[in-house]
Symmetry: C2
Subunit: 366 residues, 2 copies
Amino acid sequence: MGLPTSKGRNLLFYHYQLDLRKRLFLDEFGLFLGRRRKRFVVRRKGKVAEEVPADDVEAIVLMSKGVAVSEDAVRLAIDRRVQIVHAYHSGWPYAFTIPTFLSGSVETRRQQFLAYSDERGVELAKAFVIGKLTNQSNLLKLLSKSRQRTQPRLANELYGHAVGVDHVADRLGEIRGFEVDAVRLDIMNLEAGAARFYWSGIARVLPSELGFRGRDPGGTDPFNVLLNYGYGILYGEVWKAVYYAGLDPFAGFLHADRPGKPSLVLDLIEEFRQQVVDRSIVSLIARRRLGDEGIFEEGLPEGEKPILSKAVRHLVAEAIVKRLGDEVAFEGKKLALSSIILRQARKVARYLRGTIRAYTPFVQRW
Amino acid sequence: MGLPTSKGRNLLFYHYQLDLRKRLFLDEFGLFLGRRRKRFVVRRKGKVAEEVPADDVEAIVLMSKGVAVSEDAVRLAIDRRVQIVHAYHSGWPYAFTIPTFLSGSVETRRQQFLAYSDERGVELAKAFVIGKLTNQSNLLKLLSKSRQRTQPRLANELYGHAVGVDHVADRLGEIRGFEVDAVRLDIMNLEAGAARFYWSGIARVLPSELGFRGRDPGGTDPFNVLLNYGYGILYGEVWKAVYYAGLDPFAGFLHADRPGKPSLVLDLIEEFRQQVVDRSIVSLIARRRLGDEGIFEEGLPEGEKPILSKAVRHLVAEAIVKRLGDEVAFEGKKLALSSIILRQARKVARYLRGTIRAYTPFVQRW
């Protein structure tokens, strides 16, 4: 199994081109984000390491404790609608810096709350999960297809797991209800059933040394920690999409039973996890760019939760951001995945306001 | 007329004790906010200028372009629920750094949106404005009382203005409606009528050199600019109260016709403007701590909007924050004004959820 590339090890900070707009990840002690006119300036020990025009930047992700940001840069980011994300080393955002104005109309939020008590909430919750399950199945089928010649037995197995997920998705489609509270448990039970097919399928394509025994957000095995990191980046993207569509991040449908959690973000992220994150990380492992060694930082105190090594963090962020830039066919158009995320959030808003009759989840063909 | 104190001029940054919790205002080029364990550390040119335990800090207000903040400090602030405000030099917040979790329940927001279409919205809109008008009247009566011996004619005049406001407030109480959209115009017309009585009364106690001709948020005369600065600080306090009560800042009742504006913050601030800001600034002028000279920064380019001088900004912030710490009798208790702001936001939430039958605005006796 290959170690992370040495290239990754030497990065001080990094950005990735995407849709002509970049994400600036500041993930190393001692970096300083400043401003020079309409440009962001990254400095290290007082020396300019990079200058980027603000209009070329999509988001600034601050992931390290040793990073500092000037208020000039914050002002520029807010003026230019550049998202500022404050994230843990695990990749999970713990804060956002948001403007005091709101995009979108309050009417969207009003309808969002009304929809909680009518059939729209049911339809959205179902659509998010049907999207998730269809993408789970499609990813398994893709993994099956690419192994048909080399590992025909494994390919058949994976296809079988996909069919298992498909059956669950069919049953989801039959769920009816007048409000989401009445059907949440049914939806979540089916979701859990599909998850068993899906993750046991994914486990089959991973090296057994990784010790992956199923998805567990609190798990300390490499694959679960890698997923968490990837989902953290995706979560920032989905949050931004939800926020700029004028939706309330905290008023979801499926995950609404979690007080204080941004439940609509957790709802909408479901249909993107597989194609954006799972696929990227499985691919990194399959291409042996990630192995079972060198994944975690070494020398952490006993009992501490494992942290991905810097090289691996860079590798995963690079892969996810590159993937967000991939153009994918959806609803008759070819669009970057990051644009599809923004569109899907706006589609939720339009569905809630009654501009469109149905919400169709994002699905990528295999 | 006295100039601002030289004491104010020499402050690098400043904090004010309040309820045992401080506000850190970072308002000078070159300041750096860092962290040492559970303490905020303010540095100037690398030297520690002050250390404050995080639990002693209520809010961090970043008001200058030359200020920088470490991510360590941001993390500490979010962990300890210290508010981070990003404000223009005019005092107006343009961004907040907010945690990705929400306090309060989504049910509060749901009811907030439902209330827009029922009588609760009418009652809240009326209550906010009745609070505002009663405080306007009470402040005029206070100013009248304190001038009764020295300037009896002015005292009578001020009392007359107060009675004018009272009459408008009485008519407000008579407004009935099934939803706020149906009564907004009536309420706002009465509010405007009261404003004429109020501000022409306030103008009578100001030195004519200040050239105050009535409240105008875009006005460039000293008193209007001073008010803007004070309202900016108050606005941050009210935003925090609204946010932590679990309310949606953008879904107000009275100011709901302003898309993208945090209309509930603009609603709730109404009952606090007079006693927190107007009174403090009138008092600074009456005590000759603010004159008509030295108020604005000098040497600004032709045509630029005037900016308060640093000494004056410090003086006003000090006065407002001191005022927020003043204990005031309200509903049978003596509480700091800053605590009353938090309580009033929670009271709005409780009224919306149906825990209490009526929302009574904050009013300070004279």
